[in-house]
Symmetry: C2
Subunit: 368 residues, 2 copies
Amino acid sequence: MATVLSSTSSTVLLDKPLQLDSGQALDRVTIAYETYGELAPDKSNAILVHHALTGDQHVASPHPITGKPGWWDRMIGRGKPIDTDRFFVICANVIGSCMGSTGPASDAADGGRYGMRFPVITIRDMVRAQVALLDALGIGQLHAVVGGSMGGMQALSLAANFPERAARVLAIATTPRHSAQNIAFHEVGRQAIMADPNWQGGDYYDSGNTPDKGLAVARMAAHITYLSEAGLTGKFGRRLQDREAKSFGFDADFQVESYLRYQGLAFTDRFDANSYLYITRAMDYFDLAEEHGGRLADAFAGTPARFCVVSFDTDWLYPTAESRAIVHALNAVAAPVSFVELSAPYGHDSFLLEVPSLDRVVTGFLNG
Amino acid sequence: MATVLSSTSSTVLLDKPLQLDSGQALDRVTIAYETYGELAPDKSNAILVHHALTGDQHVASPHPITGKPGWWDRMIGRGKPIDTDRFFVICANVIGSCMGSTGPASDAADGGRYGMRFPVITIRDMVRAQVALLDALGIGQLHAVVGGSMGGMQALSLAANFPERAARVLAIATTPRHSAQNIAFHEVGRQAIMADPNWQGGDYYDSGNTPDKGLAVARMAAHITYLSEAGLTGKFGRRLQDREAKSFGFDADFQVESYLRYQGLAFTDRFDANSYLYITRAMDYFDLAEEHGGRLADAFAGTPARFCVVSFDTDWLYPTAESRAIVHALNAVAAPVSFVELSAPYGHDSFLLEVPSLDRVVTGFLNG
């Protein structure tokens, strides 16, 4: 019998404005977060897990809208690689998102929604908010900071900008900077959202109509980049959906079409289109070397942390070469780092899926 | 001084309905085509060039809307690899397109535009129309049939279905069937078009409003797949567009964003959204093995033609493995075939760009 992992949902209202990379400050910042396990009296057993673009704080507890298990339920829990019998696990919704932390759907000081008045944020701004949460919790140094994809960017950014705050840094399926191709795919998604007449310049919250069609197209385009070509072929191939022969029409004849349409549509139930704009922008702006004078190694100069970098051989969104660049930078400053490219058929999404070798790497690194 | 290549623009109205794979027949089919060079008295020197998804018959003559040189101007002309001093070159707009051949923007029998009443067509249907054109021109056997991308699909389809009509088949950067990933990208584009309220179920021709925003998003998504990641990085990297620093807004900060927006917008000036739906559908339906009992080799059984198959090492849309599958099928029926994977940095679009090694392959094959 599966035991339900007990989690605590909380919010904290930061007592100071959050200074942003843009030069602006964000006032009255709320951070919504979940915790699992118990914080040790000396507060030495905390692990901060950062979520990815469309993730949220419900890392190991059911999603409040979809009812589905937490997005990393397989990784976090009693006896799991991130063992809640030993560790106190924190996962916070990033600012700019839409699951309780302050974002474009939140009320601004004038009582109206921010919409596109929300300031453009960066990955470092997201991390600043989470460090403020750690301050509020009285946690000085984390046992580890962990993240995949955009979560990995945050983990690296925390290591670079708040080097004393984490003893271990585990960065999975990520990159030190968004490439031209990464930016290009995000720009397609943003243009799809902004082309939706329901978007209304971002002021759709009180209209009763949300830009679901544009957001669904954005999600569909992005979703392809999360999967490998071989994975798509294995999962769908050219198999038809609930029919014996092609329809010679524009219905979803192929399973892969039906799957993508469903993924696009389902996404609009749980995500805010403006949040998608802001978070993709933050990812596109991410360039850890640029933030540190143009040399990636300088981002990690003097870091006291141990690092573990993991890539997947079928990830074409953030291919292994990106992870290798991180490792080379860490080597250049003599930081202890282990690096592994894991073999898994699922493409970028491998970090979320059943990959036992990842479990072993995570277990080994966190307990080493 | 560059000499202008003389071309002849013609249309032919087929005297019989075109029987389609769907079981329907298309009546009063017009085919618009260009020719270059002179047809030999024995009609033995004709080369049929098939265009790609968004191409047209203006293969080596200026585009009537954009004024730009023909899309394969570098390949076709006096003294060029497809030498118009020697060969009579024909390039016809595919049916379903929008440059003069019958497509969804054409008038149906009732005088109104077809719109989505246009029948769903296949690559083989496009080829049937072009074989009818050859009949109208009195050309029995072509010296060669040549095409890249969707043009390559047509070349293979012609070889498989009309084996006596071409002595040589040159298939470049193409595939024997659309993969799940290929279908997925096309489906994103179709959903983007259909999500545009100006699309109006395809009945936009007389509304004064065309679904340009949706079509532009479709083009942007597709355009990324035509380029290599390394090519995008080399061309744009993370360079900013006409500014010194990030704007912390949603303008096109990055050159790659600006480029993609331009590509999307410019495309809407010259292409019909419904044609985009129909032609992508035809490509997704393409599976040469399926058409021939499930075994690709059977598509080429008894072919009298010589083949040349060319792929590019950076093409991730139709990677070299797809070309290899074609070659293996041809080997299985003992058809003479030469195969080369060329090295070029431009991804799938390499077949359109400055790749001197391609010129040498084309010259050698056509004159051998």
